[in-house]
Amino acid sequence: MDAVTNVTGRAVPMDRSNVDTDQIIPAKYLKRIERTGYGPFAFEAWRKDPDFVLNNASYDGAVIMLAKHNFGSGSSREHAVWAIEGLGVRALIAPSFADIFRNNCFQGGILTVELPEEDVDELMRRATDDPTTEIEIDLETQTVRAAEWERTFEIDPFRKYRLQRGLDDISMTIEYDADVAAFEAQRSPLFPSTGV
């Protein structure tokens, strides 16, 4: 995973609440066994509407997506994150995210920033009025900026630490091998095994 420190650029406003993962990437594309190449299928159904925001060329190259409540609800498919990544988006700002989706974003190095609804609305307004509006997310200081406008956000310190260093989850956990083995040694033998 690449380290994430700062995401700066245009933001595309996805002005809907409860955007579910079936919209982000329809199930038929989950048959692929690759991890990349999902961008062209992202929001497939909604993209058929010429007025859909992702069809607006002014937002081409946006690296931030602004969203409403409960973005990423529904399925655990990480393909949704790969699809968003495939659109070139590196960070999402919303009042709330669905839990599994947020975990998956973190795994893929996509930054999720939660701000109060009125702050997200303000950013949506700016990005809608002027698609060239630049938004900056600085992970170190936990700040979101748009020109003179500025807010701070919360992030789990452990996640921040790992994002900033681009640390790989699995190799980190493998260092705890002795702890896992010690846990296994005292684990109840009554728990089932899937074999035989």
């Binding site: 329809p26 990480e78 839990d99 699995i170 956990t173 705890y176 009554l190």
Partner: protein, 484 residues
């Protein structure tokens, strides 16, 4: 933490391998930046269920990093999401699905993971087969690359849906890094009326708390109504926890749980059973334990529910009409309702009973178990599916199918004009050939009514199995209480 604890807290704490932020030396090693905040614990996983759709990239990741599967004996794979439900002995009509199924087989073999393959009687939907085989037990941590893993919570297990990267992490380490969840109590008091099922209870709960009401929380379902539900009914309730945004949902184990488990293949026997029972009985939430959030519903006031919109919270009772978007106070709900009505091609004010349907889908990990099939069969016995309606039953597993056939339910369905299929996810998510055509309207016992969920342009209404069966006969929604 000492003092009274909730069920979820007990299970969580018993599985913490390492809590880096709780330990000064580790905090040092991780750097000061990682200090403070909510602990992101390393949690041991007792059972990892794997299926063909969310695992190929995880196995590929293992191979690239040169990792093996740490505990194949705590891992079980099956093929459910895109397997066809008819003509399994023929070549798969979809080359991509065929490839994915083949990759699952090869990965299971290469990494030594037990697999319930397509022609194995035990094959079925991941969340149906775990409980069926006795692999789901109280006090366990269970994960699967699927959001409805919460189903297993019905046994008093802590069960989470995870993404593919986390699948890889669990395969490699048998652990998972997770932020400690908050706790929420949903209590359903009183008694359910006749014809009202577990599905109606969970639809009522989601209607009450909203589709994001449980975000960040593990829900414990409590109260008389939950206690009086069968274990399968509890699975239906826990299954849809994610539809209320919750990270997991569970029910304290009790005599109903133990009776359901006894004698199943992977459940402890003899003296081990007694020892296990002792542990299981220590799990329920202690007197005086507190929850971060509490909700109470009166079970006597829950009628059969029908969703009208494009998320599972957009529902009304069967005797209501489609609400007008203006009836919602919050602007986002108003907009969402207007969009949903447009997608669903419905007019505000239309009585639910006047909505005609084209298809009926009876199945999924929410309502594809034997009791679900029995309740639907009892409604249709001796009747015929309405003209122009295509109705289909997809049992949750090969064993559910066999049991139903032993009880003669297949004949009841076939006589009524239903199709009787092989086990799998089928039209719950439309990854196999079972999909709605654009514009088709379906009464479905599954869990999601998202736009296009059952096929692009398809329109879904979530209902209980009894309500779906009654709708199949009438050709439109009816109050099942009037026909039983």
């Amino acid at each position: 933490m000492t003092g009274p604890k909730t069920l979820a807290e007990k299970i969580w704490e018993a599985h913490v391998v390492d809590s880096p932020l709780a330990d000064a030396a580790r905090r040092e090693a991780l750097g000061d930046e990682a200090a403070g905040g909510v602990p992101t614990d390393l949690l041991y996983i007792d059972l990892h269920l794997v299926h063909e759709v969310t695992s190929p990239q995880a196995f590929e990741g293992l191979r690239l990093a040169g990792n093996s599967v740490r505990r194949p004996d705590l891992t079980l794979a099956t093929i459910d999401h895109n397997v066809p439900t008819i003509g399994r002995d023929l070549p798969n009509p979809d080359p991509l699905s065929a490839q994915q199924i083949d990759v699952m087989r090869r990965n299971a073999e290469e990494f030594g993971i037990p697999l319930y393959d397509v022609f194995d009687m035990r094959q079925g939907i991941v969340h149906v087969i775990g409980p069926e085989q006795g692999l789901t037990q109280p006090g366990m941590t269970i994960v699967c690359g699927d959001s409805h893993t919460s189903t297993h919570g019905a046994f008093g297990a802590l069960a989470f849906g995870i993404g593919t990267s986390e699948v890889e992490h669990v395969l490699a380490t048998q652990t998972m890094r997770q932020v400690r969840p908050r706790t929420m109590s949903v209590e359903v008091t009183g008694e359910l009326g006749p014809g009202v099922m577990a599905k109606d209870v969970i639809l009522a709960i989601i209607n009450e708390i909203g589709v994001d009401g449980g975000v960040g929380h593990v829900i414990e379902y409590r109260g008389e109504v939950i206690r009086n539900l069968s274990l399968e009914g509890r699975m239906t309730v826990c299954n849809m926890s994610i539809e209320g945004g919750a990270r997991a949902g569970l029910v304290a184990p009790d005599e109903t749980t133990f009776a359901y488990m006894q004698g199943r293949r992977h459940v402890p026997q003899g003296e081990d059973w007694d020892r296990a029972l002792e542990y299981w009985r220590s799990l329920p939430t202690d007197q005086g334990a507190t929850f971060d959030k509490e909700v109470v519903l009166d079970g006597a006031n829950i009628p059969p529910f029908v969703t009208w919109g494009t998320n599972p919270g957009q529902s009304v009772t069967v005797n209501d009409a489609i609400p007008h978007p203006d009836s919602f106070d919050e602007p986002t709900k108003r907009e969402a309702a207007a969009r949903a009505l447009e997608y669903q091609a419905l007019e505000a004010g239309t009585p639910i009973r006047d909505i005609p349907i084209d298809r009926v889908f009876l199945g999924s990990c929410t309502n594809g178990r034997i009791e679900d099939l029995r309740s639907a069969a009892s409604v249709i016995q001796g009747k015929r599916v309405a003209d122009g309606v295509n109705a289909m039953v997809v049992p949750g597993s090969g064993l559910v199918k066999m049991q139903a056939e032993q009880e003669g339910l297949d004949q009841v369905f076939l006589d009524a004009g239903f199709e009787w299929r092989d086990a799998g996810c089928s039209m719950c998510l439309g990854m196999n050939p079972d999909i709605l055509a654009p514009g088709e309207r379906c009464a479905s016992t599954s869990n999601r009514n998202f736009e296009g969920r059952q096929g692009p342009g398809g329109r879904t209404h979530l209902v209980s199995p009894a309500m779906a069966a009654a709708a199949a006969i009438a050709g439109h929604f009816v109050d099942v209480r009037e026909v039983i």
